[in-house]
């Protein structure tokens, strides 16, 4: 986690600087103000992110780095100290492994594609496809389970939204 936090901290520092120097001035229209300008509040919040980002980088920079053997670390003075290195040495304990990231990206791709299809062809047609695609992706192969699961929730929600709430659906 130390390395990830270090990168995250640097990322947030860059993000905050971008917000303060480019995005807030560029994406905020100025007008006559009695009290404070429209820039004030988002700039203060971005400054908060900047300070905390620096704090996060500082905190992780000073943390001891682990040796390869995992249970020993060396501090800045070169003295060995013991730390909990589960996150660093055990891939299962890492916050995000390559295979997990792959699963996440595939699932996101399935969902985004289905949402796009729902937008183009309507929810009644493609919502069951979204459910079925995800079920198959997750390993469900029993059609006696897939069929009712893909049809029932869509039917019930369609009836509630269009007839009870009287809202249109795509």
């Amino acid at each position: 986690m130390r390395k990830a936090d270090l990168i995250g901290g640097i990322g947030f520092v860059i993000f905050a600087l971008l917000m303060i120097l480019r995005i807030i001035p560029g994406e905020t229209e100025s007008g006559t103000t009695y009290g404070l300008s429209p820039y004030f509040y988002p700039t203060v919040m971005s400054a908060g992110i900047l300070i905390c980002g620096i704090g996060l980088v500082w905190q992780n920079w000073r943390q001891p780095r682990p040796h390869n053997n995992g249970d020993q670390a060396v501090n800045e003075a070169g003295h060995e100290i013991e730390i909990d290195t589960d996150m660093e040495t055990n891939p299962e304990a890492a916050p995000l492994t390559a295979s997990q990231l792959m699963m996440f990206l595939i699932a996101m791709a399935v969902i985004v594609t289905s949402v796009w299809l729902i937008q183009r062809f309507g929810i009644v047609v493609f919502a069951p496809v979204l459910i079925a695609a995800l079920m198959i992706f997750l390993g469900e192969r029993d059609w006696r389970v897939i069929l009712p699961t893909m049809l029932l929730p869509v039917g019930i929600v369609y009836l509630i939204v269009t007839h009870v709430l009287q809202s249109p659906l795509p």
Partner: protein
């Protein structure tokens, strides 16, 4: 007051309100029982469906979901050793050993009665405390409110994650995101990137459903990537009739534990950011310390289940005390409930008692009613809920994704809201993975408009001079508390590792 109260009684005791309370509690119980699902997710998914309801109906329904979810989470914790919510982790310690001993039905009954006990006690405290606190809070001006908000965000960031800085970053991100839309003073677009859909700000539901519900589904998908979704869950309920009974003598013995644990739950619940999980742990530890048989804890002690569940459920209504008193949500579920208030044109806080007393009393009566409904639904549906937890993830997760899409579409601004929800699911996934507190993020987002308004007013009132703060002693107290918490938590994390080691070594040897 009497008029408002009698009016509220007439408003609540209608078929519609009672039916929706029943529905809310049942759905909440169901969702709470499902492993991996939680009540905040359920509220986020159901919020869009309440838009066309009357405010009292909608809020009673969502509060019912909140209460049902807290109680239902014990079911999977007891039966399959998988907590429905993090706050029920403690329930597994004794609940599951009771199941292994063939006392599953008894454990479920203890869990349910303790839940209802904690819930009713806490609701009474909420009713008694909220209005007096609101009367005090009504005298606070923008300077005091700004100071309270600064302290609240700082404190929630400090206690809701492992890293104080990451918590604060999440809080600032939420506050920053809330500034998108038309500027409150000039009415000019700010951070809208040319999208007319963002003129009203980023829709709360797109943020809530994305960061809470869909990102949680994505986390569960990657967690079970080695083929864990299709596995059937098994319960070890022997159905032994003798062990399923809960005699009055045994229940009476649990009453002191339930009372103490409810007190812990109430105190922890009122303080923003601490949450039900801490309440459960504290009350469990306290119950074990006071028990005549502490060695039995962890082996299937009924007191363990009672302590955990009473504290867990007592913290639920207690989290609404700061919402009604000063309009400050301290947890995910209350942030969403506050969003529901705002969606119906109501501003939670001290002025709600003045402006819409009948509604507030109606909500209070609805909450008491929901507590009784909780008992009824729990008793009648116990065996049904025990079967629901056996439904596989391959069925649950895709249906939740579908509900996320519908929810974001209905109240998130159409398909734009759906795509926005997907963006926040992406963000939420990485926030969860890298421990950036999404509680602080969402609380910051909900409080954003109020924070900006009070900050602007405070700056105008004080003319931007720090010396003017001397006229506001309450604000000074909260600002000092915020500074102390920043100093305390950041210095703990920025401390030289050698000094930290030495300090820990000294503490261990002393």
């Amino acid at each position: 007051m009497i008029d408002a109260f009698t009016g509220a009684i007439a408003d609540v005791f209608t078929v519609t309100v009672i039916a929706y309370i029943f529905l809310g509690v049942t759905i909440g119980y169901l969702v709470g029982a499902l492993p991996g699902m939680n009540r905040a997710t359920a509220i986020a998914l159901l919020l869009p469906f309440t838009a066309s309801m009357a405010p009292l109906v909608a809020l009673s329904f969502l509060i019912g979901v909140n209460k049902g979810g807290a109680a239902g989470s014990a079911v999977s914790a007891i039966l399959i050793n998988v907590p429905g919510e993090p706050s029920s982790v403690v329930t597994t310690l004794d609940g599951y050993p009771m199941t292994q001993k063939g006392q599953a039905q008894k454990a479920l009954k203890i869990g349910l009665i303790a839940s209802v006990f904690g819930d009713i006690t806490s609701t009474v405290v909420l009713i008694l405390l909220a209005q007096p606190l609101a009367k005090i809070a009504i005298g606070t001006g923008p300077v005091e409110l700004t100071a309270i908000l600064i302290f609240a965000i700082t404190f929630i960031a400090a206690v809701s994650g492992k890293s104080f800085f990451k918590g604060l970053i999440a809080g600032f991100l939420g506050l920053l995101l809330a500034s998108c839309g038309l500027d409150i003073e000039t009415g000019l677009p700010r951070l809208t990137f040319g999208y007319i859909e963002l003129y009203d700000g980023i829709p709360l539901l797109a943020v809530a459903i994305g960061t809470l519900a869909l990102s949680e589904v994505l986390v569960q998908i990657d967690r079970g990537w080695r083929g864990g979704y299709a596995q059937k869950r098994n319960t070890q309920d022997t159905g032994n009739a003798a062990d399923a009974t809960l005699p009055w003598v045994e229940l009476r013995r649990l009453l002191p534990t339930m009372s103490r644990s409810s007190l812990v739950g109430i105190v922890v619940g009122i303080i923003p950011g601490l949450g039900a999980t801490l309440a459960s742990f504290l009350s469990y530890t306290w119950a074990r310390r006071l028990s005549d048989h502490p060695a039995l804890f962890g082996q299937g002690a009924p007191e363990g289940v009672a302590a955990s569940e009473a504290a867990d459920n007592a913290s639920v209504p207690a989290t609404l005390v700061p919402v009604f008193a000063i309009g400050l949500p301290g947890s995910l579920a209350t942030a969403l409930l506050m969003g529901a208030f705002l969606m119906h044109g109501l501003t939670p806080g001290p002025f709600l008692f003045r402006d819409d007393a009948a509604l507030v009393y109606g909500i209070f009566i609805g909450m008491m009613l929901a507590s009784l409904v909780l008992l009824l639904v729990g008793v009648v549906g116990q065996r049904f809920f025990a079967r629901v937890i056996l439904v596989r993830d391959t069925v649950i997760l895709p249906v939740i994704v579908f509900l996320c899409v519908i929810g974001a579409y209905l109240e998130g601004g159409g398909m734009f809201g759906v795509y926005l929800m997907l963006v926040f699911a992406f963000v939420g996934y990485f926030m969860k993975k890298y421990d950036y507190s999404f509680v602080t993020f969402l609380v910051g987002f909900v409080l954003g408009p109020m924070a900006e308004l009070s900050l602007r007013q405070a700056m105008i009132l004080t003319d931007g001079r720090a010396a003017s703060l001397l006229d506001h002693p309450v604000a000074i107290v909260f600002l000092i508390a915020a500074v102390v918490s920043v100093w305390r938590f950041s210095s703990m994390q920025l401390l030289d590792p050698n000094k930290l080691q030495r300090r820990q070594h000294n503490e261990n040897t002393n």
